[in-house]
Subunit: 379 residues, 2 copies
């Protein structure tokens, strides 16, 4: 029995979106699902109990960050990432590839791997498929990601083709190096940018190998939303129906719904937690910047339609006061609300799939949220 | 029936320490007690639920800070401080006097009150007994403090005498201005520095007025610990036995015990929360700086003898990692632990008074904590 399996429950007759279930060594969860990001073995400002309370089933942690701090050896000695951070739900770790390409300096890509400088200390480091597997095996995440190259947007066809081919060769090496297949599943990452032929080539290469699931990478890197949707339109049909599909780095409410409609099962993004620490909240009426002066005497909740702990107990005026004074508790309250909002949204998406009405749900949600307005200020 | 009453349960035969009970409109609590400080209507990093979980019964908030941000009018509109911050336990507010003297610039003391500059905006402000009462009445705290002058240490006898006399005149004006006596009690503050005659004069003046309780002010402002203890030795006997006694700004474990032995019932201090945000923890074996490299692979709890949520679930290695990476959750864990430590210590102190063995408890605690060692690194 593989560590990670996917069970397709049903397909929405109105949209083609998938309702499914992913089974992991740390519990099962229904999909489509949103995964809060806990970069450094903590979802910023939150406790594991709060994540549980908001019904998070799986979180994401970053291999690159944990490799640098505190080091995967310390986490391994602690008994793995779950034990280290006191989180008994499922964990997905990325491969470190994205951070190497987005955070580090002076990177040099070779067939063997990537040389670069640590973004904190400036120290010279090297990451390869083998090293990325070694670190993730030490962390003990339920779902590991293959080490890939994530090229910038836009990238030329020639560059992208070379990159896709290298990513496929690296994928094979990842499968080879992964040595805890009994308790950890490895996902491959389909790249290819906006080029249909390259997405096709990447998907063909990777689906010929035995991955536990497939991610669509290289999106949400600056391209317009219609490009993302178009790429998903021609990419997800290339993926097997009996394995989970994960759209990396996507967390705006509209893209979560549009991704689900295109057959995506899993999503992650720092968006809800990052904007929360700036005092910006996602609400059923669109986004709300609680710092604004107009909320100084507003004693209503962040979102009157929300039943989260923050909205049941605290006012916009109080949260504004805390955020303005840079008080941690304010960021706890906004973070809790935003994560709850996305987790609840995905629950509604699953319900809509179950009832074959995700298209209707999308229309109503976009209308209420303001995504349909011209020049809507989205995320 | 006054808003705040004190009930003496018993006196420790070994030390003279008092076991008592304070009744407030937001619940009763046994004394001696420690009050966590929630300067800006939040105990930094903590939620009200966490404070409840650690058995905090009363917290302190700062009038000066809330006056400036968000403004007492907003809190009043919210329905008072308890409702604003979602805390249903008791609240004590200081008068703003201490902050005017410690934080502000260019202060000018007159009979009418104090002119000074806001430490954030530089704006010119004026605080007087009447203003301090007005703000605290708007905040709606259970226990209010009289507006006093808190002179620096050391201060000359002549200066201190003038100050004590002015503080007594201000105390009368506070009693006069306080207009919510049905739901808020007002404490007077005995000043006089290290001078016995002035403490006597101050206590005589204030106990001739009808305050709901009495604080000993002007200590823990830089004087050696034996000076503090000597001042308490001759000051607390001057206070009525049927009202609560509050030693302001004291929170180191040794001083809490030594204060209780000298008849003090209530304490507050930012120490446990402030050092927590620097990664320093109070433990049964003395203080522990969890940032230190030696804890990088230490998977034991902060304090093996502690049963708090932090110690039951998280290791030194994990907390060190979070604190080093400046992750909020690390400061939540250390703050929770330190507050729990002091609240538990006071529970043990009350138990020891009940059993007439606070002297023995002091000796054993000082020995284990290391306070008895020469050059002990205390707080």
């Amino acid at each position: 029995m593989p560590a990670i399996t996917y069970e397709l429950i049903k397909t929405c007759k109105q949209t083609g979106a998938r309702l499914g279930k992913v089974h992991t060594p740390h519990g099962s969860f229904e999909t489509p699902i949103f995964m809060p990001v806990g970069t450094l073995a903590t979802v910023k400002t939150m406790s594991p109990e709060e994540l549980e309370q908001m019904n998070a089933k799986i979180i994401l942690s970053n291999t690159y960050h944990l490799w640098l701090r505190p080091g995967e050896d310390i986490i391994q000695e602690a008994g793995g990432l779950h034990k280290f951070m006191n989180w008994d739900g499922a964990i997905l770790t990325d491969s470190g590839g994205f951070q190497v390409f987005s955070l580090s300096d002076l990177r040099q890509i070779e067939e063997e791997g990537v040389h670069f400088r640590n973004h904190i200390s400036g120290e010279k480091l090297f990451l390869s498929p083998e090293k990325a597997m070694h670190i993730q095996n030490a962390l003990g995440s339920d779902i590991m990601m293959a080490f890939d190259e994530c090229p910038p947007y836009p990238a030329e066809h020639k560059y992208m083709k070379d990159s896709v081919e290298r990513t496929s060769r690296w994928a094979e090496r990842c499968l080879e190096a992964h040595n805890r297949t009994d308790v950890q599943g490895l996902f491959g990452i389909v790249q290819g940018g906006e080029y249909e032929d390259l997405r096709r080539q990447s998907a063909k290469d990777l689906t010929s190998m035995d991955f536990a699931g497939y991610a669509v990478g290289g999106l949400s890197v600056g391209e317009p939303k219609d490009v993302m949707n178009r790429v998903l339109d021609f990419t997800t049909p290339l993926l097997p129906t009996d394995k989970a599909r994960y759209l990396m780095g996507v967390g705006s409410p509209d893209s979560l719904i549009d991704g689900a409609i295109r057959g995506i099962d899993m999503f992650d993004c720092v968006l809800p937690t990052r904007i929360a620490r700036n005092g910006t909240c996602m609400t059923s009426q669109g986004r709300l910047v609680v710092r604004n002066a107009k909320y100084a005497r507003d004693f209503s909740p962040i979102d009157p339609n929300c039943d989260c702990h923050t909205c049941k107990n605290y006012s916009r005026a109080y949260i504004r006061h805390l955020v303005k004074a840079n008080e941690t508790f304010g960021f706890r309250l906004t973070t809790y609300h935003n994560l709850h909002f996305l987790l609840k949204l995905m629950e509604q998406v699953r319900e809509a799939i179950r009832e074959d009405r995700l298209g209707d749900f999308r229309e109503a949600f976009f209308e209420q949220y303001g995504f349909n307005k011209p020049n809507a200020k989205n995320f």
